[in-house]
């Protein structure tokens, strides 16, 4: 398991270093590139947690679309080499950041992180894990001691079943949001008149 430790710490250094760099680097374009690096590192974390689907979707969406969006935004800004201009909101921003950090630390520390596998409930952990974040592999599920019925139910659908079945309302709400964004983009692009 030391192999996993090495990979974890390498990814952690990259992610945290990149995140710190995003905030501290003066050149905005380099900050955007570091943000893309952080996204890739987070994708690596997802791979380590057996969620390959989520990792790949993370890279596809975050790096392939959102980072590109950031970079376009940086391109349309002037004088990016000098970094942010000084403004009056520095103290309130620092205050809010500290409060947010305190809230996240409190949550992280007081949560019970024992996994189901640690409690001896392997089969349930397999179900919970694969249904939430991955398209499961039928052979590995069968090898982990689930009954044939359970394997069928997990490997048959997984994420797709959840999206269309149980979580269809958030799914449709997100698609409505995308539609609103597309219409807004069209409206912006049309310009005046015509």
């Amino acid at each position: 398991m030391w192999f996993e430790q090495v990979v974890f710490w390498a990814l952690a250094v990259v992610a945290i270093g990149g995140a710190v760099g995003v905030v501290m680097v003066r050149d905005l374009f380099r900050a955007a590139l570091l943000l893309a690096t952080v996204f890739v590192a987070v994708g690596g974390f997802y791979v380590m947690m057996n969620a390959e689907f989520l990792a790949v979707v993370q890279i596809l969406i975050y790096v392939g679309a959102i980072a590109v969006l950031f970079i376009f935004g940086v391109m349309l800004t002037r004088d990016v080499r000098q970094g942010n201009t000084p403004n009056r909101l520095q103290i309130p921003a620092a205050l809010v950041s500290v409060l947010l950090l305190a809230a996240m630390l409190f949550t992280a520390v007081t949560t019970d992180w024992t996994t189901l596998a640690g409690l001896g409930l392997e089969s349930q952990s397999q179900i919970a894990q694969t249904q939430a974040v991955g398209i499961p592999d039928a052979s590995s599920l069968a090898a982990s001691g689930l009954s044939a019925q359970e394997v069928e139910s997990i490997a048959g659908g997984g994420l797709a079943d959840l999206l269309i079945g149980e979580f269809v309302l958030p799914f449709e709400a997100v698609s409505l949001l995308l539609l609103a964004a597309a219409i807004g983009g069209l409206a912006l692009a049309r310009g005046r008149g015509r």
Partner: protein, 415 residues
């Protein structure tokens, strides 16, 4: 062998690398000498080395083959001076590029400028990891293979934009912005057409898709094949969509400021991308390594089908004139995207109605789908082509009808 399947020690070979005969052979050899995790790493590295070399050499060979094929399409001979049939021409090109001066423009962002060719080549090499070259022979057979390829290919847009920005050249930035706009626009129809493939095959793993092609998918979903071909031409910045880097553009687009080995790497990424997409077409639409005679000849059929893909790309390149940027966008959003949505809808409906209780499709089902989809393809291409033609004709008619009159005489001839 000391340890072959002890999941407590390392990741099990059954998981990712499992099934690859070369991997097992090397792993078996190495496990006698070194601890098993090292044997695993060594086996993986050897296969990666073979794959990387194959892709880069393939990029060089594709550059030679493309120039010769392009020449024959244009009634002339391609390069024929270096080596028999000019086969050593890529070596001559590479030598020339390596010995050129490596210029970094004044005021350029040095780290980003240097990192761009690296990102482009490495994203290409990572993406080739999932392509099956023969039965069970892929570096990794991910169960999200198609999505992985899409994700890694989207790194190219960042690399291109970084190239334009880091060059400290506003014309390079414009060219890069145009190229990135084309790239991210064409991801939509490409992804939708690949969705059709995934729906019919029932899995995102490339090995499973090849196995599921009892009837090759270019027959079962001709619309998806057409959209994928056109969309990937645009993603690779190939003619007729190469407004970003064409020879007749005033500046060379995002790679204006690149010279020497960096430019050679960018070209390698471009030709390697053409090779990789041809391999992808072979896998997804032409039934990959499946062929008549034997299973161990799978690599031969794969090579032949990849060559068919490259031939298609060069054929299209030598035939069609370059499109303007607004025409490229019109083709994407008004022509290819509706086609891909139609394909997806048709395929989903057919799969829903035709599949049997366990969810698989039989060969006859695939042929029925092929027939229906062929009709749908012809009808929808004709329909959308007519719409686009009407739009262009209408727009030109309104332009001339509203021509200003000078002394009672229209200054532009109407009609």
């Amino acid at each position: 062998m000391r340890c072959i399947t002890t999941p407590e020690n390392m990741l099990s070979p059954e998981g990712a690398f499992g099934g690859n005969p070369l991997f097992y052979w090397i792993y078996g050899l190495a496990a006698h000498l070194v601890p098993c995790w090292l044997a695993y790493v060594i086996a993986g590295l050897v296969i990666m080395l073979i794959l990387i070399n194959a892709v880069l050499l393939g990029a060089a060979i594709v550059s030679w083959g493309e120039r010769r094929l392009l020449g024959r399409f244009q009634n002339r001979v391609g390069p024929n001076r270096w080596g028999p049939f000019g086969a050593l021409q890529p070596i001559a090109d590479l030598t020339k590029l390596i010995t050129k001066e490596d210029i970094i423009p004044y005021g350029a962002d040095r780290l980003a400028f240097t990192a761009v060719p690296v990102i482009m080549v490495s994203s290409l090499l990572v993406a080739t990891a999932v392509i099956p070259f023969a039965k069970d022979v892929a570096l990794v057979d991910l169960n999200v293979g198609v999505l992985f390829i899409l994700a890694v290919s989207s790194l190219t847009s960042i690399a291109i934009f970084t190239a334009g920005w880091a060059s400290n050249n506003r014309y390079a930035l414009f060219g890069a912005g145009r190229a990135v706009a084309v790239l991210i626009s064409y991801e939509v129809p490409v992804v939708l057409s690949l969705l059709g493939v995934v729906v019919v095959a029932g899995s995102m793993s490339l090995g499973d898709i090849v196995v599921a092609q009892a009837v090759p998918f270019f027959l079962v979903q001709p619309l998806a094949f057409f959209v994928f071909l056109a969309g990937m031409s645009a993603e690779l910045n190939r003619t007729p969509f190469d407004v970003a880097e064409a020879e007749s553009e005033i500046i060379a687009g995002y790679h204006t400021e690149y010279s020497g080995i960096k430019f050679a790497l960018i070209q390698a990424a471009e030709f390697g991308g053409a090779l990789f997409v041809s391999g992808l077409i072979a896998t997804l639409f032409l039934a990959g390594w499946a062929g008549p005679v034997a299973d161990w000849l799978g690599w031969l059929w794969f090579l032949i089908k990849t060559f068919i893909g490259i031939f298609l790309f060069v054929w299209i390149r030598s035939t069609f004139p370059r499109l303007r940027l607004d025409q490229i966008m019109a083709v994407c959003w008004k022509f290819l995207m509706p086609l891909s949505i139609i394909n997806l809808a048709a395929v989903v409906l057919e799969v829903y109605f035709l599949r049997d209780a366990s969810g698989t499709l039989s060969t006859s089902d695939l042929w029925i789908m092929a027939g229906i989809n062929m009709v749908v393809a012809v009808v929808s291409i004709a329909f959308f082509g007519r719409i686009i033609r009407q739009k262009i004709r209408n727009s030109s008619r309104t332009m001339t009808a509203s021509a200003p009159m000078v002394r009672g005489v229209p200054t532009i001839e109407v009609g």
